[in-house]
Amino acid sequence: MVEFLQFTLSGVVFGMIYAAVALSLVLIWRGTRLLNYAQGAMAMFTTFVAIEVIYRTGSYWAGFVVALAAGVVLGAVCQLTVIRPTMNKPPLNAVIVTIGLLTLLEGLAGIFFGGQYRSFPAAFSVTGLKVGGTALGVSRFDVFVVAAVLVTTLALGAAFKYTSAGLRMRAAAFNATIARLSGIRVARVLTVGWALAGLLGALAGVLVSPSTFLYPSSMDAIFVYGFTAAVIGGLDSAVGALAGGLLLGLALSYAGGYLHSGASLVPLVALVILVVVLMVRPDGLFSATQVRRV
């Protein structure tokens, strides 16, 4: 029973990180109908920036804030420089451009920061919490991870719902032509979408790196699971991204804990979950009502 509780809690923690990556993908998908394969690499890069700042200033929070700001800037710069010119070209071109961006960022990280594994500090203690002598298998920092993702998500959700900038973003994602006719600068809105996605990715990078080490390809696996979570939840749905992240985090945690040859089978478990979900709902769990294809 204690074991089950531990697996559940650690599943929730990783689930929230997958959810953050999934949310960043959903943000970009809703705006531009494009999956950003560079999302993980962008997060890796901003986390490297954070580690440099932490070493220079000695302050974790300075690095944390700089990482999020770098995420916003990197997202916007990528969209303005290489993504925007592909928007009127065949759709797969934009995909290959994001793959090129992924490769470019991993190469640049190797050049600027070196290829070796580096440990990343955590904001709070990483020793396990206990309740009445029973180890919970999670630390103060894990609580912070869950809280940080939840707060950011809720803040973004509220901004989308209650601010006029959020309304403009929703309008542009709902129907670009009508939004443009109503005087919304859709191109600028899309850039903002990429910037916010960059922020979420940067958050995920800073939160996951204490438990994975940091190196140029360290975010690849996190990206793959975040992508899987977004697909499970349905790419159009923010709630779906959260649910998909949690579902995947829990399932992988149970699989890693209970299965005989655990760790090596985790990707297979993810594949099975993904296939089962897609066989039942080909557009993810929380997709909008299916429009009949004609």
């Binding site: 998908w29 109908r33 494009l34 999956l35 290489v82 592909t86 070209k89 065949p90 759709p91 797969l92 071109n93 934009a94 995909v95 290959i96 451009v97 793959i99 090129g100 961006l101 992924l102 490769t103 470019l104 960022l105 991993e106 190469g107 640049l108 990280a109 190797g110 050049i111 290829g115 709902f174 129907n175 670009a176 032509t177 140029p216 690849d220 793959v224 992508f227 899987t228 977004a230 697909v231 790419l235 040859s261 090596s264 089978l265 985790v266 990707p267 297979l268 993810a270 594949l271 993904l274 296939v275 897609l278 066989m279 080909p282 557009d283 993810g284 909008a288 429009v291 294809r293 004609v294």
Partner: protein, 359 residues
């Protein structure tokens, strides 16, 4: 006109050129020839799948793994001759492609991309889970030698380059025939409009599954070749990076075009090697020197996509028409790369019809 004899002639000329190059060039270049041949075989299958039938796959490296391990196991335990192991690998990957194709037939755009990506990530982990059969992370060693009639001093890499090129050329000729046959027309019909194709009596589901089978067989042949050229099959050779490189080569070369598959494969094999050579000759430190090719490769991908939106083959085609004037319309329409990978209505709610979805 595109006819069978003409394609055969092109293949024979290419074989002659490769023969000449392999005799004249160094062992390392022979290895690169083999590498390009392997890459072309897999990329050609993928360009047909994505460009003609409109289904994306980010997991074709998994089929290469299946082909490679099948060949390795047959050579290792049963001592089969390579040609028999090659055929067996094709059969096994055809079955695997059929299974994946049936599952994929319902999925569209990014959902298909996600499922195939996860397949590419998950399948190699089987090797670590069943160490007894697949040899874990170390993989399996493959013994491949030159045949006796070539003499004892004949370089192995040259023989590997010849075998790989032969398999690649045969695959390309057969694929070209398939693409311009009824099957290829059905693929294009399904890609452009499923409902119209179904009304014309095309079995949409079967057509889509067949495309997956064909592309899986190509990847399986490539995996089988990779096993004998590198003398090793290990999970590290079939990472998700490989699957992504295959799709990249297909799009960079020109999606749906078989010559494009060759240009794309040349690019992704040669650019990293070339930049590494330049970097080492300028005496750059190793952490910088080893990462410059990666960064340069990424930059090249972005640039090619921005400068040649239709891929290299599309760019060449445009250059050619500058000199010769436009070709008859019918030919252009048939050869033009796909405007959409999937019809936009598939992925967007009704209110977003003007947007195109991309995985």
């Amino acid at each position: 006109m595109q006819t069978f004899p003409r394609r055969l002639a092109v293949a024979v000329v290419t074989a002659a050129v490769v023969w000449f190059l392999s005799v004249r060039l160094t062992t390392f270049r022979d290895f690169q020839i083999a590498e390009v041949a392997i890459e072309v075989t897999a990329v050609a299958g993928l360009t047909v799948l994505t460009g003609l039938s409109g289904q994306i796959s980010l997991g074709n490296g998994a089929f290469m793994a299946i082909g490679g391990y099948t060949t390795a196991l047959l050579l290792l335990h049963l001592n089969w001759p390579f040609i028999a192991a090659l055929v067996a690998s094709a059969v096994v990957t055809a079955v695997a492609g059929g299974i994946v194709g049936v599952a994929a037939a319902r999925l569209r755009g990014p959902y298909l991309a996600g499922a195939t990506l996860m397949l590419g990530v998950a399948l190699p982990s089987l090797a670590a889970a069943y160490q007894g059969v697949f040899g874990g992370d170390q993989g399996l060693n493959v013994v491949f030698t030159t045949p006796a009639f070539l003499g004892a001093t004949f370089p192995l890499t040259r023989w590997q380059a010849w075998v790989s090129t032969m398999v690649a050329l045969v695959t390309l000729v057969l694929l070209a025939n398939l693409c311009y046959s009824r099957t290829g027309r059905n693929w294009r019909a399904v890609r452009d409009d499923e409902v119209a194709a179904a009304l014309d009596g095309v079995n949409v589901a079967a057509t889509r599954v067949l495309a997956f089978v064909v592309s899986a067989v190509c990847a399986g042949l490539a995996g089988s070749l990779l096993a004998i050229v590198t003398s090793l099959v290990a999970p590290g050779a079939f990472t998700i990076t490989l699957s992504i490189a295959l799709l990249t080569a297909a799009v960079i070369g020109g999606l749906g075009s078989l010559p494009g598959a060759l240009w794309g494969s040349l690019l992704i094999v040669i650019v990293p090697t070339y930049v590494t050579d330049v970097a080492t000759s300028h005496g750059l430190s190793s952490s910088v020197g080893s990462n410059i090719p990666i960064a340069a490769y990424g930059a090249v991908l972005i640039l090619v996509m921005l400068v040649f939106p239709q891929g290299i083959q599309g760019g060449l085609h445009r250059l050619l028409t500058l000199f010769t004037g436009p070709e008859p319309r019918a030919r252009i329409a048939r050869d033009a790369p796909a405007p959409h990978v999937a019809p936009p209505a598939d992925e967007a709610p009704a209110s977003q019809h003007e947007k195109e979805g991309s995985a």
